[in-house]
Symmetry: C2
Subunit: 214 residues, 2 copies
């Protein structure tokens, strides 16, 4: 089952969370779950869950609930976790190294195959088994290897320059960690990560929770 | 104007984005904007924008649009960016150091006042002007200083332990970078950052955009 109905980006952004919760249920050998139980675990209303999952054709049965493994696999398919995307990291500073050390990406179908930097002290070193290359050989590397995604961890001012270089080389996706909404006139998908957004949400929630304590 | 109507978390999660876009408009000396123009810039429907901002009492006027500065300041107030929250970073590895180097947080009202680690080679060093302390003095430090938020960048297994220690010490907010949905039986707000969620969304959007190229 793979319905090709257009799904809103708001729903798509919730799918990774469903995926994580379902993975946890599988680990606990829970094979089926009602939208109500899932709702209590996830802190989303049951009706939201039913609506979200209906976008993909449902998977639920009245009185039975959801088959956890089926739903888990379907969401994985929808998210394209079997795509074997290959990525490079641009910038071997703290954020670039943190990403290289993150073990979850490969499990999700994203393999990091190289890191690029300008710093001669870093070039040639490895993080886990990923080599740090001179950014001068980036073009050559991208032409020789399948590179789907560039993870942008370079300094702020460098970000649009490096991003454009990757897009011109035909890289189809950019994951941007610089605090800017990067846009490019190229045929490339850009996902901007704004770390301070989630910090601001934390601050809001703290104010809401503790406003009567002040 | 500060309406205290309960706002859905989905709307709250969009506010930091409005805030960033409005900051950019201010920088460009744009003083007013219609929901339609804002919609085109942000890639959100105009009706979504009107709905979102109506939650807070609107700020828009028919035929005039939004006063950019007013809206910017109000969203800042709603997000509590004038709170002067103080935070500590737990773990001075790559992610902890990346956060310490991030300059945007202080502008948003979050000041980092210390970093804690177990590694004797790091203790006593500084990142920007933030000192790395021995985690042994954490309790003492939290008792002496106003610490509102703990930013959790310790290894996966350590995360719940350190989180509980902070919550017991009365820290009210935890910003968790370990790939787990941390939950604690304490009076504490937890915001879990799942980096791979946004990577999965990138993968989904790439598949959608390029599905006809295959």
């Amino acid at each position: 089952m793979n319905l090709k109905k257009k799904v809103s980006i708001a729903v798509v952004r919730r799918l990774p969370r469903y995926y994580r919760y379902l993975a946890d249920l599988l680990k606990m050998d829970i094979t089926r779950i009602s939208s109500k139980e899932l709702s209590m675990r996830m802190g989303i209303t049951a009706s939201q869950i039913r609506q979200d999952l209906n976008c993909f054709g449902g998977f639920g049965q009245q009185g039975y609930g959801y088959n956890v493994e089926l739903l888990y696999n379907e969401i994985g398919n929808i998210l394209g976790l079997n795509n074997n995307f290959q990525a490079v990291i641009l910038g071997a500073g703290n954020m670039g190294q943190a990403l290289a050390n993150y073990t979850n990406f490969e499990k999700r179908g994203f393999k990091i195959i190289g890191i690029f930097d300008v710093n001669p002290e870093l070039i040639g070193k490895k993080i886990k088994d990923i080599e740090i290359f001179d950014i001068d050989i980036l073009d050559e590397f991208v032409k020789k290897n399948k590179v789907d995604i560039g993870m942008l961890c370079v300094p702020f001012e460098q970000t649009p320059i490096v991003a454009e270089r990757l897009a011109r080389l035909g890289v189809k996706g950019l994951w941007n960690f610089s605090p800017m909404d990067l846009k490019l006139p190229y045929n490339v998908v850009i996902e901007n990560v704004h770390l301070s957004d989630s910090l601001m949400v934390l601050g809001y929630r703290m104010n809401e929770k503790f406003k009567n304590d002040k």
